[in-house]
């Protein structure tokens, strides 16, 4: 009896959460895929109609905007967050005074929700209230910073707010990475008289590749599911200029009673995530087996 328990307790304990994940993650992915092939409107219907929803999706200028915005926002958000995060981490790594305080200050935005970030930046960037108004009241009458209300530039304000929020977190990741590099190697390099910038570019940063990959994965999924930031900052506007796939899906599912369309956009979003995550998982798992 004891033997049987020893052998089976782990399985029994894991079983409920395994079943829950199977149903509520994979089951619902399958369900969404099914609904995306139907003409569901207010409530799901289950007669399969083929790829009609995907045709509608790719025919919609609004979806075009959403996807283009995802590329712009995703690329800039990830690159700039990583660049700023790395720079901050390297500067903090110089054994300066009050490092703990500075680290907390930079990390703090991560503790705020994207809704708070979005609302705060909405006021800061609003031409009538924020930076532009302040600069003009200081006498710079021609100062202009109206990206928030310019349909061509509004998506970049989302990047600004997103980077402000996330670069502190990336800094923390990188700082941990920098500290985990073997000090013996660094000391040896210092003894050999190699200048510090070169130590970083040739030794430390290359040895942090796994950290870069983790940061990239975390940031890219933040970018793809980005929803609350856009809602709070621009509400998708001006017009639908700052729509992202997530806000498109929400509008279709919850405001317009077009569940089939929402499901197809959700499937496309998932494919984008898979395109990024699957190679990562593959390389990770293969690494373990070798």
């Amino acid at each position: 009896m004891m033997r049987w328990l020893e052998r089976h307790v782990p399985k029994l304990v894991l079983a409920p959460s395994f079943i829950a994940v199977l149903i509520f993650v994979y089951g619902f992915i399958a369900w969404t895929a099914w609904v995306s092939l139907t003409r569901s409107r207010l409530l799901p219907r289950y007669e399969i109609e083929g790829l009609i929803q995907y045709e509608r999706l790719f025919d919609s200028p609004r979806w075009d905007t959403a996807i283009t915005n995802l590329y712009i926002f995703g690329a800039l958000f990830i690159l700039v967050s990583m660049a700023i995060g790395l720079l901050l981490a390297i500067l903090l790594d110089q054994h300066i005074r009050a490092e703990g305080v500075l680290r907390t200050i930079y990390l703090y935005p991560m503790a705020l929700s994207f809704i708070v970030t979005g609302t705060a930046w909405k006021w800061v960037l609003n031409p009538g209230l924020g930076i532009e108004a302040v600069m003009r009241s200081w006498g710079f009458e021609t100062f202009e910073f109206d990206w928030l209300v310019d349909p061509d530039l509004a998506i970049y304000t989302v990047v600004i707010a997103g980077v402000w929020q996330s670069s502190g977190f990336v800094m923390a990741l990188f700082l941990a990475g920098l500290r985990s590099v073997d000090t013996e190697i660094i000391r040896a390099a210092q003894v050999d008289g190699i200048p510090t910038p070169r130590i970083y570019t040739a030794i430390i940063i290359p040895s942090m590749a796994p950290i870069f990959l983790s940061a990239f994965i975390v940031l890219s999924h933040l970018a793809i599911k980005s929803f609350d930031l856009v809602i709070a900052l621009t509400g998708g506007g001006p017009g639908y200029a700052t729509d992202l796939p997530a806000t498109y899906m929400y509008a279709m599912a919850f405001s317009r009673g077009d569940i089939g369309q929402a499901a197809s956009s959700a499937m496309i979003m998932m494919s984008v995530v898979f395109a990024i995550v699957v190679p990562y998982l593959y390389s990770e798992l293969r690494g373990k087996h070798d």
Partner: protein
């Protein structure tokens, strides 16, 4: 034995009316208005279970409703309007309240086009609580007087007045750059420039010819002109902040439904003296009717509650008190209007005349004319045009495409 006896007597007693009401009237004036109905319901011996779901202009409430319906436990009555009523009817979940409607003669008491919204394939399935007029133009009386401007009755007059005000350094049009507000302005321009028949063809029947006509190009031209009358900072502004601009004299006009009147009145202003109201240039009347759809429920007490609720909603007392609170006018035409203000009286008189002329039309921007997907497709084009430098021809092309795509 005693317990069994009790159960029998309880079962045979007359069922006590019970309702569970899902709505999103949660702000001050709205909550007061719905409380009137609750009190009346309780006074008639009923039990009211309130299910308010705040936020998102009803999006959150609709999500809650969907979950309840899918789990087979629909609320008794739900705040629904326009074609959404028919959409839910097609899902097979609405109840028939024809017995109440016929006993109380609703068909006679409601304007024909509004009665039509409350019917699902000939049976009555919803009860209207009010009529909001959407095609209103509000103005700051002092500004107009100072510049010698009358309320414009044509779009050319509006453009001329707005240009004059702009040159004097006043923002002519207070506008909030949210998609539904762009759509609100758009539909009043469609009605004004194209006339009621064109409006019917384009935004109700979705006739492709009307959608891609020269008239529609002219409508988008006018929208481009209006864009020039709006201040630079309008993007994402809430409608009530735009109303405040008219109140404070920062802007002269606003095009918005009669809920804007509530803001003026709450600030202690008098219609006709401090602020002016007039229908937007052109004929016709665009309505937005709030209503409660009745869902199919089981149990004598709940069905009794449903019938009582429907009767009370259409009752003279509720229609009068509710609409005084909310700024709209009663849906039934025989309610005494002695306590209503001059804007409401105009609205009621116009509703009667347009109903007879057949120009009483459903508002597309407020979900009365089209289903969600189609209305949304049009709004996407309107807001994209208004917020960019898209040409009118391109907008018209996109409009026809978007509508076909949403069918």
């Amino acid at each position: 034995m005693a317990a069994a006896g009790l159960m029998v007597s309880a079962g045979s007693a007359v069922a006590e009316p019970q309702v569970e009401v899902l709505h999103w009237w949660t702000s001050g004036g709205e909550a007061r208005s719905v409380a009137v109905l609750q009190e009346e319901f309780a006074a008639n011996g009923g039990t009211w279970t309130d299910m308010p779901v705040a936020g998102g202009g009803g999006d959150a409430a609709m999500t809650a409703l969907r979950a309840r319906v899918l789990s087979g436990n629909a609320p008794t009555a739900v705040q629904l309007k326009g074609p959404a009523i028919q959409e839910w009817y097609e899902e097979g979940v609405l109840a028939d309240i024809s017995s109440v409607a016929e006993a109380n003669n609703w068909a006679e008491l409601l304007p024909a086009s509004i009665a039509q919204h409350m019917q699902c394939e000939g049976t009555w399935c919803a009860a209207p609580v009010n009529v909001h007029r959407v095609d209103w133009m509000w103005a700051n009386a002092a500004i107009l007087e100072e510049h010698g401007i009358e309320m414009p009755t044509t779009w050319e007059a509006f453009n001329a007045a707005a240009t004059q005000l702009q040159e004097a350094g006043i923002t002519p049009l207070a506008h909030g750059g949210q998609a539904w507000q762009d759509a609100t302005v758009f539909e009043t321009v469609v009605l004004g420039l194209g006339g009621p028949e064109f409006y019917q063809a384009a935004l109700v029947d979705l006739d492709p010819e009307a959608l891609s006509s020269d008239t529609m190009v002219a409508v988008f031209d006018q929208m481009r002109i209006m864009r020039g009358f709006v201040d630079e900072n309008f993007s994402g502004r809430d409608w009530n902040l735009a109303t405040a601009m008219v109140m404070n004299g920062e802007a002269a006009f606003q095009i918005m439904g009669d809920w804007a009147k509530g803001e003026f009145l709450a600030a202690g202003m008098t219609p006709g003296e401090d602020f002016l109201c007039a229908s937007t240039p052109g004929d016709g009347y665009l309505y937005n009717v709030d209503s409660f759809a009745m869902f199919a429920v089981e149990g004598e007490d709940r069905i009794a509650g449903q019938m009582l609720l429907a009767e009370l909603i259409m009752g003279q007392n509720f229609q009068s008190v509710f609409n005084l609170n909310k700024g709209s006018i009663p849906a039934r035409i025989d309610v005494p209007l002695d306590d209503f203000d001059s804007c409401a009286l105009t609205s009621a008189a116009d509703m009667a005349t347009t109903s007879e002329a057949g120009t009483l039309l459903p508002s597309y921007a407020h979900g009365m004319a089209l289903r969600g997907a189609q209305a949304g497709a049009i709004t996407d084009v309107v807001t994209a045009h208004f917020n960019s430098d898209m040409s009118s021809e391109e907008a018209v092309g996109q409009l026809a495409n978007a509508v076909a795509n949403a069918m």
